[in-house]
């Protein structure tokens, strides 16, 4: 297809792929969302765990805990080329599986991705787990006796290095680094690539390792929950005590609406607009009044040409930390007022917090909500924090078909992104 033949640069989502704590397929994730079934369970982080952190949103049916790729196991229904696994981090394995799902879901083949009008945007934090193995080798044996894959399998960017080669991407290929807003940025700029006509199709993937090296350092910031139950993550609840970590991968195929129409494929949703703004406040903490996030939401509404009253549901970033949830609640009040706000929930209550992958995971959840006509409930909410009481928090999933959904993400440095998904 010639790029000049495309007239409608609206952006639609035509494929989803999910490897997550609440399911390793869109259908499994959908069922978990409707029933608010938690993916959080006891996690054996280290042989001797002195952190007091005992749960995570675990990834089932994979074992990527071995020190080298040759030990890793993944479900039999996938086949990952062994020569390609040599350069991957654990989350690279999740990502390939999620990407293969999304490609199939969009009625594409792997070959359809390898052309000049298809690009790749990724987000991950790299792999501290593998980095440690390689650095130990460096300290013990010197620089020359190390795995030649030590760099490409570990550093930030490992995901786009690997997937760009794996799927033989020939369009744009890059990674995004804004901590827990990373994959929302990846989606937003994928949207811009298609809007501008530079690309017609984008594969966007967020993925994270799930191991002690990626998650437990957050305990030093005192932002991880010490609760040991499957309901440890409880955004907006008075008794929340921090987030629960998770990993996995979420993949989305974005295409120009014209291309999707010509291919005759169903779209889950349109990515109608987005906005971003920085707090300019703290290296790690959210702005106490939610200033940056409020600006990001306002800009997203303007970009999507929507009034705030038209948003029916906000998939909140709320990670279940004391400061962050209140900050977002205040940001929502700034934009939507305190009466009759949209429905709000944070699906991190059942998924855990997927860090840089969170935006992609929650965008996929928004797409499922639009396609299947429901609003995910706010799990584990027993006593609403009085500072969040103005939010309309559904304690169970609702059979309400939202036309417009907003998804928020916030990352270190006060980086905020809001995406708006609409029924196609």
């Amino acid at each position: 297809m010639l790029m000049s033949a495309v007239r409608d640069h609206a952006v639609v989502i035509t494929g989803l792929g999910l490897i997550s704590s609440i399911g390793n397929s869109s259908s499994a994730v959908l069922e978990s969302l409707i029933n608010l079934r938690s993916g959080v369970e006891t996690m054996q982080w280290l042989a001797v765990n002195k952190s007091g952190i005992s749960v995570a949103g675990t990834i089932k049916d994979f074992d990527v805990s071995g020190k080298t790729w040759a030990q890793w196991k993944y479900p039999d229904n996938y086949r990952i080329r062994r020569d390609a696994m040599r350069g991957m981090a654990p989350h690279g394995v999740y990502a390939v599986c999620a990407a293969l799902q999304a490609i199939n879901d969009a009625s594409l083949t792997e070959e359809d991705l390898s052309n000049e009008f298809t690009g790749l945007h990724c987000a991950s934090a790299g792999s501290p787990f593998l980095m440690r193995q390689h650095l130990n080798q460096l300290y013990e044996f010197g620089a020359q006796r190390g795995s030649p894959m030590g760099i490409v399998s570990t550093i930030s960017g490992t995901l786009n290095f690997n997937l760009g080669a794996y799927f033989r991407i020939k369009g744009s290929n890059l990674g995004f680094v804004s901590a827990c807003a990373s994959s929302s940025h990846a989606l937003a700029y994928a949207c811009e690539e298609i809007r501008s006509g530079r690309q017609l199709r984008m594969l966007v993937i967020g993925a994270e390792d799930l191991n002690a090296e990626s998650i437990l350092p957050f305990a030093a910031m005192r932002v991880l929950s010490l609760n040991s139950s499957s309901s440890a993550s409880r955004p907006f609840d008075s008794h929340r005590d921090g987030f629960v970590g998770t990993g996995g991968a979420a993949a989305l195929i974005l295409e120009s609406a014209d291309l999707a129409r010509q291919r005759g494929v169903h779209a889950y949703a349109q990515l109608q607009g987005w906005g971003q703004a920085s707090d300019g406040f703290s290296i790690a903490g959210s702005h106490e009044e939610g200033e940056g996030l409020a600006r990001a939401m306002t800009r997203a509404l303007k970009d999507a040409a929507l009034a705030h009253e038209e948003i029916q549901y906000i998939n909140a970033h709320a990670t279940s930390t004391q400061v962050g949830d209140v900050s977002e609640a205040k940001a929502i009040a700034r934009v939507f007022g305190t009466h009759n706000t949209p429905w709000v929930s944070s699906t991190k209550a059942i998924t855990g917090h997927a860090l840089s992958m969170a935006g992609a995971l929650e965008s996929a959840i928004c797409c499922l909500a639009i396609k299947h006509g429901f609003i995910p409930g706010q799990a584990h909410l027993e006593n609403v924090d009085p500072q969040c009481a103005h939010l309309r928090l559904p304690t169970r999933s609702l059979h309400v078909a939202p036309k417009h959904i907003m998804s928020n993400s916030s990352g270190f440095g006060g980086s905020n992104v809001s995406l708006i998904f609409s029924s196609p």
């Binding site: 030990q71 890793w72 080329r81 062994r82 040599r86 030649p148 894959m149």
Partner: protein, 114 residues
């Protein structure tokens, strides 16, 4: 000096058992044919499309890149594994001269067995 077979088995966990067994046999016998089985077994395991015949049976003149499809990163990874197992160092200048199956076999036999 080759590391003990049980330590090698840990390092090679996930690799084909034939390689681990060949390593053990070489460690016990120092028979270079078992070294070939380790070396070419590793290489076959790392290749995207290994040849249908075992690499050790290919003629010495077979070119690693053109005939077998071994790219530079793959040969570097095999060298790393061999360095780790046999506690040797392969200098960069030596690597440049390893271009065929025979080069690889004779270099490693000389380096390790001597």
């Amino acid at each position: 000096m080759a590391i003990a077979p049980e330590i090698a088995a840990e390092k090679l966990d996930g690799y084909p058992v034939e390689i681990i067994e060949a390593y053990r046999k070489f460690y016990q016998s120092e028979d270079p044919r078992h070294l070939d089985d380790v070396l070419f077994g590793l290489l076959m395991f790392l290749l995207a499309e290994p040849p249908v015949v075992h690499l050790s049976t290919l003629p010495d003149t077979a070119k690693l890149r053109e005939d077998v499809g071994v790219d530079s990163i793959t040969i570097t990874e095999v060298i790393f594994l061999v360095e780790d197992l046999f506690e040797i160092t392969v200098p960069n200048e030596d690597l440049e001269h390893i271009t065929t199956i025979g080069d690889l076999r004779s270099y490693m036999r000389t380096k390790i067995c001597s």
